[in-house]
Symmetry: C2
Subunit: 209 residues, 2 copies
């Protein structure tokens, strides 16, 4: 984007090549971190490889060595995201808890979430992505097929679609600031939990003394 009139933080001086270790040491992770920050702030479309390179203090072509190209970087992020999501869902108690965890994941990893479900940004053939996505999909399935309210027993497949749509819609609208007016300063996860209790009955209260 030319002539960026937006907030333009001063770039720190990059020391001359001779005064700086030729090898960054952990460039891949540095780039990833910077990318996640940038995406969380301004969305994936605002991501600039050259800007990431500047922030990491390396040359403009350095990122390419680790991620091949823009699509490669986004694909790596998506894969990481699916792995993180799968891990979060794996610990879910019942279906509603899985939904809450889905929303929490979106809030805690907004950059990952904004990239994971958009094929047009990703290298669809990528092996890492494919396997990670299979993992998170598998966790979604188990969340539905294990502890779910009786109402949903009729058709597990449809129940899965409904649950996923509900969680994904809430998370998406939340991250895109479309629920600001409605949620206000309440805890989004609590709002979500309460909203789902309207749709399907709560599990029987845990049998504590």
């Amino acid at each position: 984007m030319p002539r960026s009139t937006t907030s333009q933080q001063q770039q720190p001086e990059r020391p001359k090549a001779s005064e700086r270790p030729y090898h960054h040491g952990d460039l891949r992770r540095a780039i990833l971190r910077a990318a996640l920050d940038a995406i969380a702030d301004d969305g994936p479309s605002a991501l600039s490889l050259r800007d990431l390179a500047r922030r990491a203090g390396v040359s403009h072509a350095a990122p390419a060595h680790h991620f091949k190209d823009r699509t490669g970087l986004l694909t790596a992020i998506a894969a990481e995201g699916h792995a993180l999501l799968a891990a979060a869902l794996a610990e879910a108690g019942d279906l509603r808890d899985a939904g809450v965890r889905y929303v929490r994941f979106a809030r805690e990893h907004p950059a990952h979430f904004q990239v994971m479900f958009r094929p047009e940004l990703l290298r669809e053939g990528d092996l890492e992505l494919t396997t990670a996505r299979a993992l998170s999909r598998e966790q979604l399935r188990t969340a539905v097929t294990t502890a779910r309210p009786e109402t949903l027993d009729a058709d597990p497949r449809l129940a899965g679609i409904a649950a996923w749509s509900l969680s994904h819609g809430f998370a998406t609208l939340l991250l895109s600031d479309n629920l600001d007016a409605v949620v206000g300063d309440q805890d989004p996860e609590e709002v979500f939990r309460t909203a789902t209790e309207l749709l399907f009955p709560s599990a029987p209260p845990s049998p504590s003394p």
Copy 2:
């Protein structure tokens, strides 16, 4: 994007300025149409003003006169989208029908839908956008506050969040090809309708003979 290796349809020869009417006649709409096509195919981030200009057979700076800049074009699309959505929702019977119409809107106007709920792509101050969005929001509200199943009577605000999340999530996942495996070749709207019937009871069947 440089060196586009993707499908590159041959651009028709643009006649020299002398052999072509100086005024296009309906450039604004031509650009809009082309933009909607491009976004529907490859998402908003792939949109190129210069490419739109080429398709319309005008100079590369012509679009700017009608839309100011990229953000302006996307904002115009979003505003149009909200108006269309409001119109579609206005004719809804009950809440479920509103949801189905929401999904249908997303399918029939994928480009609009992909832009409407993403503030980072839009000029937030824009008057047209603000009023159109207020309209569609208003229709969402009425859909919830009028004919809704008794289950949702308890808290209309939460019911609204739940219904919107469900519809928006389904539409989003559908457009991003994330439901392909689950929906298969069935009619998406029918799948959605059935899925919602799992979550809240159907209205009593119409009293026909």
